[in-house]
Symmetry: C2
Subunit: 293 residues, 2 copies
């Protein structure tokens, strides 16, 4: 079994970004700039946004956080987005999800100018992904593609089971792995809550991407010997072995599955770090005007 080390891959990619940004500054240009909007005070969201900000700072990307109170109206939020859309010195903007119930997520996502939508959630960018046009890929699937690339894991002609069909992970992952590209060219089966014989599907797959959101869902008897296993899940569970009293686990029963897998991502330290790296890469693409000129 070989470990797909998301931290290692992520550091290598972020080092390159850091170098590129330093070069820009040396050349007298402005730094790339990511804006983040956080509505309300959800603790998990605060942690995620803080991590994104810190990651930006480490590579030299300017980050600005717009903190809005939980009672912000949808119109007020749209006003902030409009303001950012028009600011030529902001390259990308992300709105941390989930939003309060009184705000319609889809309206907000569609208000972001596609050229600044570095989360890749705007329908125009999603559609470009489907059609194979240049776009911002959603950060988690993008991160997984970069992991496969970094570790030179062959995907062409392989069978792949993607567990989950969410808009931000499962569905784009299925699309990206099945399209004519490298990584890609997999024969993808998309598995979801209504699927039958799931164990049989995963047990026949060369590559399994687990994004079901269920702790330790994927057991050893559900994978074949030599499978590549990518774990997108992250769950906080009680533990008497850590000081904090909890530990992080994924959708994959790592201890058992790792005995059969040829390659496997750990949790934490697998897909997680790559997600923010995907966001940083998209911010650089926006700065370079690679997608929208």
């Amino acid at each position: 079994m070989k470990l797909i080390d998301g931290k290692e891959a992520s550091n290598a990619i972020r080092d390159k970004i850091k170098e590129e940004v330093a070069g820009l500054i040396d050349a007298g240009k402005r730094a790339p700039h990511l804006a983040a909007i956080l509505v309300g005070e959800d603790p998990a969201s605060q942690t995620y946004v803080a991590n994104k900000e810190k990651s930006c700072q480490k590579v030299g990307i300017t980050s600005t956080l717009y903190r809005l109170p939980a009672e912000t109206t949808q119109d007020e939020l749209l006003g902030v987005i409009d303001f950012i859309n028009q600011d030529d010195e902001i390259d990308g903007v992300i709105v941390q999800l989930p939003l309060p119930d009184h705000i319609d997520k889809d309206t907000v996502i569609q208000a972001i100018h596609p050229s600044k939508d570095v989360d890749g959630f705007h329908p125009e960018n999603v559609g470009k992904m489907v059609s194979g046009l240049p776009t911002y890929l959603p950060a988690t699937p993008f991160g997984i593609l970069m992991l496969l690339e970094h570790y030179k894991i062959e995907t062409s002609g392989k069978s792949c089971a993607v567990l989950g069909r969410s808009n931000i992970v499962g569905t784009p992952m299925s699309l990206l792995l099945s399209r004519k590209a490298d990584p890609g060219n997999c024969t993808v089966t998309t598995v979801h809550s209504r699927s039958q014989n799931i164990e049989q599907i995963t047990a026949e797959a060369d590559i399994v991407v687990a994004a079901f959101g269920q702790p330790h869902y994927l057991k050893a008897d559900m994978v074949k010997d030599g499978a590549v296993v990518i774990d997108v899940g992250i769950h906080r569970v009680p533990s008497d072995k850590t000081k904090s009293g909890f530990r992080l686990i994924g959708d994959v029963d790592f201890d058992e599955v790792s005995k059969k897998a040829s390659w496997i991502t750990p949790v934490p330290g697998g897909v997680g770090p790559m997600t923010i790296t995907g966001l940083l890469m998209n911010t650089m693409k926006a700065y370079r005007k690679e997608v929208y000129s």
Copy 2:
């Protein structure tokens, strides 16, 4: 074996459209209006466009054909599209593909205002499909969904092999059948030129959608007893049994496969008629401003 009769289903749906349009006219409103643009004189394209026009006329939808010479420049074509985009009395516009080599298809598709893109090819509409938002579905997969609905063929929890990953058929078909909807909720495997063990995948599937573009590709030993078989292919082959000297066949070896299938579409008269019906339905949606208000 039961026949999935695309002509019958199509007529039933078109009758409803016709009734709705007649009601509009009776109420003193203008008829829905579809514009088609044909560049050059490709014989197959001329036939397709003529069929679309005729189908519009039969249900009372106004159709206008813009015939442009093969040497039309891209800018000239974009000018015509802009003119149509701004005409409030045209609800939908389609550009017949393929376009001459000197014109970039993606630029042209993206120039159509998403609200008038009744082919459902604009990235914004494709992205909305992926995200499950109201949109214009691409006509062929839309037509297939309507067929499954018309014949009340259960899809939820079924395994489905989609042969092909084109932007206009295979990929949207895979997406639509796997999403949380009815028809939908299938466990979809997308099969393509790089796939291995294709025979095994199709032989295990409850539903097979054949969109490979290869005459009689799907043989009887590749499907299981009781499978639902949807044939998207249409090929003109020589025949000594017809007056014209040719006949139309699909991607499925109908004579043999129909002995095992529970439901199967013939060619011609299966998916074909439903594709134009999908276009008519999208034109009505555009008229009613169901997708973009």
